[in-house]
Subunit: 203 residues, 2 copies
DNA sequence: AAATATACATACACAAATGTTTTCATCTCG
DNA sequence: CGAGATGAAAACATTTGTGTATGTATATTT
């Protein structure tokens, strides 16, 4: 058979991915070890072996994994300003509005507000999103434009769950907003590959 | 003593308000009938008397109450276009960024996605937010500008829980965004009172 | 190959949350 | 006033989730 290290990381990955799926499907409130194990196809004993205090060990790994995945995409592009990063994220949302990682993160985030033990585990990782994804130094205040674009980004991501969600209207709204402001210098040329969209730009 | 009707609606109100508080403090996951009753100062028997199936009867009332409170503020202003409404809400956020109504609603909303029974109770009320608060007819597509401003609004409301939340930076960002676009005709004059008066918020 | 450590599974104990029933007080109406 | 209805409290059963202990096979080490 495989080595122990391979087996371990395989089941850990299955547990983490099952958790992400369940957070998206059922939300944090209905998340339970039993359900996670069912979905991952392992026993509760295995879960408790790898994550001795259950969700409180598991969820930080979930958050870290999701953040790291996004971070990797940016690292490939070299040094980026905060403004460039938000623009890139907005273009990502334009291209893949259904992107679901944010759901799991939001569920954990909302739960951590009212659960000190959970917050101990995930708080620092969530804080690291600012420097790691948005390129923001927490000490220096960000400029209004970048912050406003973050609002737009988060609002658009959330909109997916709204009653009147429509993918084309979402794109049209983001296009309208982006048309009001200038892209960062050399943005289109530098990140053509990254921001390339299947559908054509409106006039 | 008071009449039965008074007693009834008094305890119902206490239960509803305790629920809103707890949703803000602990989140949906840690909401329980026992905790609600503790906070409201009534027995579980009383809760079950007024809300036979617990949260599934209680939470729709919570949602309806919060939506109705917002709706009332708009009704006093006469007929409003969707664009005017979003502008008003953005001005409200500028004035009272800590407004906590949205937290309880977001908690319920995220939970309802994964709980069909809960969705049965609250889904229709959430849907009614579009016509009742945003003035949007669900059949007709909204214009890109209004939708983009909704993104901005929701993103700004969510920002309150971010690590780098700063009330002044939030205001600056919203000001920056609003300075890019024109206010609806006669907006400042018509709604001077609205955008500067404290909101009637159920405690 | 023996000893040990690791990965995983099963089982039990306990706490918390919900669903349900019973009981009592107080209000309402004939 | 008295019967019935209603609001409220308490008590019980059931379910669900977690914490923890124990058992067993497979891998690693010496």
């Amino acid at each position: 058979m495989a080595t122990q290290i391979e087996r371990s990381s395989a089941t850990q990955t299955r547990l983490i991915e099952a958790t992400i799926t369940l957070l998206d499907e059922l939300g944090y409130a209905r998340l339970s070890e039993t359900r996670i194990c069912e979905r991952a196809g392992v026993s509760r004993g295995a879960l408790r072996h790898h994550f001795p205090s259950g969700r409180y060990d598991l969820l930080p790994m979930v958050v870290e994994r999701l953040v790291a995945a996004e971070e990797t995409r940016f690292l490939a592009l070299g040094p980026l300003t905060p403004l460039e990063r938000v623009h890139l994220m907005l273009h990502s949302t334009l291209t893949y509005p259904e992107h679901s990682t944010s759901v799991a993160l939001l569920q954990i985030w909302m739960a951590a507000r009212g659960d000190a033990k959970l917050y101990d585990g995930v708080g620092a990782i969530f804080d690291s999103v600012l420097p790691r994804l948005f390129g923001l130094d927490t000490s220096a205040p960000s400029d209004p434009q970048t912050l406003a674009l973050r609002f737009l980004l988060h609002g658009a991501a959330l909109h997916r769950f709204n009653a009147d969600y429509d993918i084309d209207q979402l794109r049209a709204a983001l296009h309208w907003a982006l048309s009001l402001i200038e892209q960062p210098a050399g943005f289109a040329e530098r990140f053509a590959a990254f921001t390339h969209q299947p559908q054509a730009e409106p006039a």
